[in-house]
């Protein structure tokens, strides 16, 4: 506990029940204007379909709602409070100007079906962001429609399937490295492709010999995360794309780790045919406690006919418009045009950075990860010594000897004022500690983090029980997840 006071200290936090427990008849937080048309007779209009009771919906006043949610908010950790080193999640600063511009009247209140002649502003935002992302990725075209990364994966693989289909054979399977995110195999299954695992070599990279052996005309694509989930750049990327392309396969890149590349290298230049981006990771749109995300898919020319509809085009008169008539399209993956509000934020982020800012951002992200690696090497086991890009993966091998596992260390980190890193992923590292600091951390915060991690390692040696019982400073201690899963209580019920 010796370093704890440097980053965090305890303070009083308010208790707060469920909103339903504050409800009582006759309280209200709403007021409607007087009706300027005759009141409707619901019974006459709806007959048997008139609803009479809204059950246990709460009745509370405005101040109670403000306090309720403000109190709840104080029970959360957030980027705004400090470093949030979740690996592969890219928890970077969420600029506030993004939020301000997303709320400008004509943007926030635009209806997706309003006529195109009064939607030129929105169409221009879509077009400009598309052009920026195409340039950043080095690809030829893009769709912004997918609502999240996994949704982008599905969209990308549907285009892969349509492409192969157009050549007469949809092919049967997708190769996925054993270090991949769980969404990759889940997505392949949703698009009716079989999944074949691909081994990693001793450097933590795709094993080229295995790839050569497994690659054949049944393989539709390889789904590769680059840098991969070990934070390692696939140095044989050229060879990988050659092997795939030689047998007519496509290279899909999961862009989850694009924060290591923006302005420094472009996937389109190293052989990627299709990739998704996560605007909520690389392009600073807020995670918001688990969404909304946005997962644009950038593609090479060969896949362009298959883009979801609609596509934004410039008409002869210079106006922007949606084009729906695309006979080879995979169809829609979502109603309307995607998470437009996230496009606005991502574009504001790109504008705030410019080419020099984006490059510096990437450099700082990689510098931060390497600084942590250097600081913790020796204290924690580093299973792969291959150079680190934007994130570094340690294992709990040294601490496991004392019975302390990665999750315990993660929970103890909470007491030191940090959010835990990603635990137990990637699966190829038993007991993984996956750390991604992003560019948003100053040197001081990184030093505190390294200090905290070292201090915990000392505690593991001297007093492992303290680590095993952590966290000690939170409102609730470790929760009984087994009971939650055995007898699920998924909603509040009024006392009967």
């Amino acid at each position: 506990m010796k370093h704890m006071t440097r980053k965090a200290t305890r303070h009083v936090s308010q208790n707060e029940g469920l909103i339903f427990e504050k409800s009582s008849l006759g309280k209200a937080a709403w007021k409607l204007p007087p009706l300027d048309v005759p009141a409707a007779d619901a019974t006459k209009l709806l007959g048997a379909w008139e609803r009479r009771d809204l059950g246990a919906m709460p009745e509370v006043s405005e101040i109670e709602i403000i306090r309720h949610f403000t109190r709840l908010s104080t029970w959360n950790y957030a980027i705004d409070l400090g470093m949030y080193p979740l690996g592969s999640c890219t928890m970077k600063y969420n600029p506030r100007v993004n939020e301000a511009v997303a709320r400008v009247e004509g943007i926030a209140n635009a209806h997706p079906y309003q006529p195109e002649e009064i939607s030129q502003g929105a169409l221009r935002i879509i077009k400009t962001l598309s052009e920026c992302l195409i340039e950043i990725t080095g690809m030829d075209a893009i769709t912004l429609q997918p609502a999240a990364g996994a949704h982008g994966e599905m969209t990308g693989l549907l285009m892969v399937r349509a492409y192969h289909q157009s050549k007469g054979n949809a092919r049967k399977k997708i190769l996925i490295p054993d270090s991949a995110h769980g969404t990759n195999p889940a997505t392949a299954a949703m698009v009716s492709y079989a999944v074949e695992n691909l081994k990693s070599d001793s450097r933590g990279m795709v094993d080229i010999a295995s790839l050569e052996a497994q690659m054949n005309e049944d393989v539709a694509a390889l789904m590769l995360t680059n840098p991969n989930t070990l934070g390692v750049f696939e140095q044989d990327i050229h060879k990988i794309s050659e092997i795939l392309h030689a047998k007519g396969g496509l290279l899909y890149m999961d862009g989850a780790n694009m924060n290591a590349l923006v302005g420094k290298a472009r996937p389109g230049d190293f052989g990627v045919d299709v990739m998704h981006l996560n605007l909520h990771k690389t392009f600073s749109t807020p995670h918001g406690g688990g969404g909304p995300g946005s997962g644009p898919v950038a593609i090479k020319k060969i896949l362009e006919p298959f883009l979801p509809t609609p596509v934004v085009v410039r008409r002869a008169d210079g106006a922007l418009a949606f084009e729906y008539n695309r006979p080879q399209s995979i169809g829609r993956v979502r109603a309307f045009y995607g998470n437009f509000g996230m496009f606005v934020r991502a574009l504001a982020y790109i504008q705030a950075n410019g080419p020099d800012g984006l490059r510096q951002t990437t450099e700082d992200a990689v510098l931060n990860a390497n600084y942590i690696r250097k600081g913790l090497e020796g204290t924690y086991d580093l299973p792969y010594s291959t150079p680190t890009m934007h994130e570094v993966v340690f294992s709990d091998k040294l601490q496991a000897k004392k019975g302390v596992r990665t999750m315990d260390i993660a929970k103890r980190l909470i007491d030191y004022g940090f959010h835990p890193y990603t635990t137990a992923f990637p699966l190829i590292v038993p007991g993984a500690l996956m750390i991604e600091p992003t560019e948003s951390e100053p040197k001081e915060e990184l030093d505190l983090f390294i200090e905290a991690m070292k201090s915990i390692a000392e505690e593991v040696e001297e007093d492992p029980q303290t680590v095993l019982d952590a966290p000690h400073s939170t409102r609730v201690s470790r929760l009984d997840e087994t009971a939650a899963a055995r007898k699920p209580v998924l909603r509040w019920k009024p006392a009967s």
């Binding site: 997840e481 087994t482 899963a485 055995r486």
Partner: protein, 129 residues
């Protein structure tokens, strides 16, 4: 752990206890231990055909899912309904908590399975890795 000698075992950690043409199937104590707290057992309805060596259901802990492999082929005649509400029974008494009962289709298949002693040896080796 002593494994009951009144039944046979698979390398995927299921046991099968035969009674004439009928048999009960469950998972071993070693399996429940490595899975941890079991929160859900999913098995097929009565009438379903099991095929030896193929998956027929799953056992879930909070953060893991394990497939159940059929030790022998046959038709499900009964499902242990108690496990739907009390999956923890498997943790408390794995060898006493059968999951399904089947009518054997080809009792000769049982010959390929492990005896209690062989299974114990197998587990000791696996744990040693």
């Amino acid at each position: 752990m002593a494994y009951p000698t009144d039944r046979k075992y698979t390398k995927e950690h299921e046991w099968i206890q035969v009674n004439g043409n009928a048999a009960a199937i469950g998972i071993t104590d070693y399996a429940q231990q490595s899975l941890g707290d079991i929160v859900f057992v999913e098995v097929p309805k009565a009438g379903t055909e099991l095929v030896a060596g193929k998956t027929f259901g799953t056992v879930e802990s909070v953060k893991a899912v394990s497939d159940l492999f059929a030790p022998a082929s046959g038709t499900v005649t009964e499902v242990n309904g108690a496990l739907a509400t009390s999956p923890e029974n498997v943790n408390k008494d794995a060898h006493g908590s059968w999951m399904v009962k089947i009518t054997l289709k080809n009792p000769a298949e049982l010959k390929a399975l492990l005896s209690a002693a062989d299974y114990e040896k197998f587990v000791a080796e696996e744990a040693g890795h």
